[in-house]
Amino acid sequence: MRLEFTPKEEAFRQEVRQFVKDELDSAIKAKVERGLRLEKADYVAWYTKLFDKGWITPGWPEEEGGPGWTPIQKYLFDEETLLGGAPRIIASGINMLGPVLIAFGTPKQKDQYLPAIRRSESWWAQGFSEPGAGSDLASMRTTAVRDGDHYIVNGHKVWTSYAHFCDKLFCLVKTDKDAKPQEGISFLLMDLDTPGIEVRPIKLYEGGNDLNEVYLDNVRVPVENLIGEENKGWTYAKYLLGHERTGIAGIGASKQQLLRVKRLIKEQGMAGDSHFQRRVTELEIELIALEATGLRILGANQTFNAQGAEASMLKVRGTELRQDIFELLYEVAGPAVIPFSEEAMRLEGVDPLIGDDERSSLAANFLDSRKLSIYGGTNEVQRNVTSKMLLQG
């Protein structure tokens, strides 16, 4: 046991910090730090910088273009980029599909898709959830029926993040209706411009529209777009969801938002308010405990088993802590959250009534933060799964 990171690790942290400082566009940083809306171009600009440096896919093995980092390095990288105000990696190709292709894809599929993902030329949307299948994903009804060397896909996917930014979709489909729910599912790749696919935006309560619905009407998908074996899709999906959860503790993001709370308290002359001071301190301590736990898990088994109880614990605590921080930010803003306008959610926009008061975005940020306990497997489902492991194992 040792309290500090090694000098090598610290040097790496410095290197990442300096990189973010030098390379991150100041307008993009301002948007992230003030909780404003980002465009696809903002993400691509940052991802391209990461690609050029060889840092875009820390989670991929070296032979597929990963940087070959230790878990601690990956951890420090996440923390430093988020803390420095860089956009998150929202591209599902990098975090979700990439690892699946690497583990289960054919050489041809890897060659075809991985390079474009790394260069941000190709953006993938995740088509898992359906109107009737959210937490109970296995009950989904979208079907794929074999017709020669194609599948004919019919169904309806929903809550598809950033599909409007994407050109491709990875999708879970039913290929065997008679099998047990989890055994008749396959994992298919498709181009979003294939005839029969329609993407419709969903407007969210805080005014954003990151989400979409995807309607699939007799969509012809080549059989070669199947990942792995037919009816084994559930295995690949579980592998993918394990990857989705690892970064979800969001330590760097929490640290960055805590800095924002402190700054706002100071700017508003509320440093003497013991109520807010105490809340900030409490949350800061919670964050230290979470970070220590994350690092302890990392150190205990250097091959972090993402599908175990540890990942669920980090997801639950990490997301709830982030929600608490957003709630505190929202409280600190006082009456400034009463006026709201979409204009004020954009760096370039000016609402005549709100002006450049950054606090008006904090209501939307608070509302948006509720998603953290819903996506990536709801926190109720995480607790169910974990308790099963602990009590019935």
Partner: protein, 375 residues
Amino acid sequence: MDFSISEEQLQLRDAVKRFCDGEYPPEMRGQQVSADMRRERWGMMAELGLIGLAVSETCGGSDLGMVEQMGVLEELGRCLSPEPYLSTAVISGSLINALGTSEQQQRWLAPIAMGQLRVAFALDEPRERYAYQASLMECRLTLEGEDYRLSGEKSLVLDGADADAYVVAAQHDGALQLLVVPADAVGLTRTTGSTLDSREIATLCFADVLISSGQVLAEGERAECALQAVLDRTSAALCAESVGAMTELVEQTREFLKVRKQFGAVLGKFQVLQHRFVDMVIALEQSRSMAAVAAMAVDEADAEKSRKLVSAARVSVARAARLISKEAVQMHGAMGMTDECQVGHYVKRLMVAERLFGDISHQLQNFAKSTATAA
């Protein structure tokens, strides 16, 4: 203490409920509506006698209290009514009712009760949050012969975008003055915008606006007392409105838990959700009690006691609203975060109610102060 509701109060509630169910169909709640539609509804509310409920009979009102208004506000909250009931009927109406000369009452209060005049309340200022003491106000009056000139800025004026007039709080040599300023006064410019829950709001800028002595409702200590009283009244009203909104959120969540199926069962079968739903109901029922306490306190108690109970009610209702809002969204899953789902519109209404005229932190301070002086 007696929380029972009289036959007349019950009838009033029923009438309001029928009006609301007819005028605010669920799919329109939380959506912006045209100015014409709003004027029409306002007229209907006047005909029902709702606007003049607490106005004296000489001005065409019913001379009733906060307890009666509570029933109206609860229903309006339940239907997310965007009408300026709080600003005009509860706040401005009661200030003119309490302070106005008979001439002022005939000029402003009678048309308010008849639904012909909508008067918003301009209290907050951009620089200091919830700074409701005259000495902190930057909106100032200066004497000019028999008249005054008013200069300064007022922010967060709810329903201020198309009000016909404003009750404005300003300072004159450190003393508070409450005045009525028509919207078309020379030197008054307004910047309009939208609230988080899609209602109208404005910032008012006064540049040497001429104020005749006939526009002054009260000054000095009399104005101070009236302001404190109306803030208590407003808080009680916000509690009632919030209870209405929370009732609907709980109801919608109950319905959802009964019909939404996952893992082959309705969500209401999952014990963790059962328990948390019960916690939502407990929070709602406590809020209902506290909203009633606040209304009774405004009608009956002395200033000190009223202040204390009303701030307690605000804190307790705000905490409950936060819990209920978060749980309603969570239990609806991703659907709860969409604009299409009603849940979000209720959550946003509650968020605005929490912040108007004093947030939790402000109310905690009010409570602590009144306990200190009462002890």
